[in-house]
């Protein structure tokens, strides 16, 4: 089987499992819904204020929600020693990583698409800048979170207290990406400045960390 075939097979398997159980997407949806409601109570913003804070709010909600899905990524492969089977098989390790990243990327993008209308309604958002830029920011930002998140989930699955470990190692590394997403979103929503620099930074971040993840994944997968 070629690289692409393995990626496709693993991705389709994950999508099928998710389609049947809907575990990840349901828990992420409910979690971010809770964040929206709680933040709304905590800050009680006016339409003008919410335009200023929405960028931060949206991304913090998605970041926390993504961790829920990321933690489940590898956990299901531990049952029945699937991961061990994968290690002894001749399939390329990066194909596995890529499939997992693509799967998580899809889940989080679907989550964002479903949650965006809710944010608009609850926070009375109306973008001053062009909306298509928000889509670009969302796609690049989600990739940044998910590629590192999937990799770090593979790290944290090997530790004691796995679920706690993932955010502890993912959040510090993700700070520049989060800063870029939040600031880009805010500058589009308020229309006060251009998000160009932040979009470029996200692009650079995505390229660099995708490369690092692909380089190091084999050693992490085979760590004994």
């Amino acid at each position: 089987m070629s690289h692409v075939d393995v990626t496709k097979a693993t991705l389709m398997k994950d999508l099928r499992m998710e389609w049947r159980s809907k575990d990840a997407i349901n828990s992420m949806l409910f979690f971010s819904l809770l964040v929206v409601v709680i933040f709304s109570f905590a800050f009680n913003p006016t339409a003008e204020q919410s335009r200023l804070i929405a960028g931060g709010l949206i991304w913090v909600a998605f970041l926390f929600a993504a961790v829920v899905a990321l933690n489940q990524t590898w956990a299901r492969e531990l049952r029945n020693q699937v991961l061990d089977a994968y290690r002894v098989s001749p399939a390329p390790p990066n194909a596995l990583l890529l499939a997992k990243v693509l799967g998580n990327f899809l889940f989080v993008v679907i989550l964002e698409a479903l949650m965006a209308p809710l944010f608009v309604v609850f926070y009375q958002l109306r973008s001053v800048g062009p909306v298509w830029q928000l889509v670009v920011i969302a796609l690049l930002g989600t990739w940044a979170l998910v590629v590192n998140g999937t990799f770090f989930a593979a790290l944290s699955i090997r530790t004691r207290s796995r679920e706690i470990m993932l955010p502890l190692i993912l959040f510090p590394i993700s700070i520049p990406a989060l800063l870029a997403m939040v600031d880009a979103t805010t500058s589009v929503l308020t229309g006060e400045s251009t998000p160009d620099f932040w979009i470029k930074l996200l692009l650079v971040y995505d390229v660099i960390f995708t490369a690092v993840c692909l380089l190091l994944f084999e050693s992490v997968l085979n760590a004994e």
Partner: protein, 229 residues
């Protein structure tokens, strides 16, 4: 070897005493900031040692993944721990200096924020080392060490842009713009002394890690033989 390292420790202590004397008594008092500026002789060398330690950690992490030698991992662990200690010193002495000079304890300026993020990254590295199970620790830690160091320039770039877009009223620093020769003199002595302290600490911690590895290997061997008998 042992007498050599003891000699080096004694030398470092003497040097540290001399450089402290230089910083506190020989260097002139700064005109506008006064005596509080003398924290500079500890603050900046600590930042230097922390930076070097994190760089060593990065190199040792790569070396471990490449050669799989436990010594490289021991060096990575030692340098990360010492780096975090010195980074903590920087983060503590910084606000002590900033409060009387800038009027605030903290500002989200590029250098401060980058140092804080750096500290967060390497604390998470140490936590991962603690929580990882058994023989996987080294690989996982090495991977995170590489991630952490690659992240640093991106953090700095993003925060600098973040701050130049929203300039804050209190900006300062710029201590390198024309340092008095006597100050530079004291500063260089401190830089040397702190570098030696860093070397001593990393070397000691490295040795300790080696011993720990040896003890562990011995235990494993005994367990194996016990079962064979």
């Amino acid at each position: 070897m042992k007498s050599l390292s003891i000699a080096f420790i004694v030398f470092t202590l003497a040097l540290l005493g001399f450089s402290t004397y230089q910083g506190l008594f020989v260097a002139p008092t700064e005109q506008t900031m006064g005596d509080v500026q003398r924290i500079f002789y500890y603050h900046v060398p600590s930042a230097w040692v922390a930076g070097v330690c994190f760089f060593v950690n990065f190199l040792a992490s790569i070396a471990y993944l490449w050669k799989r030698s436990l010594n490289a991992d021991a060096l990575a662990a030692a340098s990360a721990e010492v780096g975090v200690v010195f980074c903590t010193i920087v983060l503590i002495t910084g606000p002590i200096w900033a409060r009387p000079v800038w009027g605030i304890w903290w500002t989200w300026d590029a250098r401060l924020t980058t140092t804080l993020v750096l500290w967060l990254i390497y604390v998470s590295y140490l936590m991962l080392r603690r929580f990882a199970a058994g023989g996987q620790t080294q690989v996982l830690a090495a991977a995170l060490g590489i991630f952490g160091f690659v992240d640093v320039p991106i953090v700095y770039m993003s925060i600098r842009w973040f701050r130049t877009q929203h300039p804050s009223p209190v900006m300062g620093g710029g201590e390198n713009s024309g340092l008095d020769p006597t100050m530079l003199h004291a500063f260089m002595w401190n830089l040397l002394a702190f570098t030696c302290v860093g070397i001593v600490l990393v070397a000691t911690r490295y040795r300790l890690q080696q011993l720990e590895n040896a003890v562990e290997a011995e235990h494993a061997q005994l367990a194996l033989e016990g079962r064979a008998r």
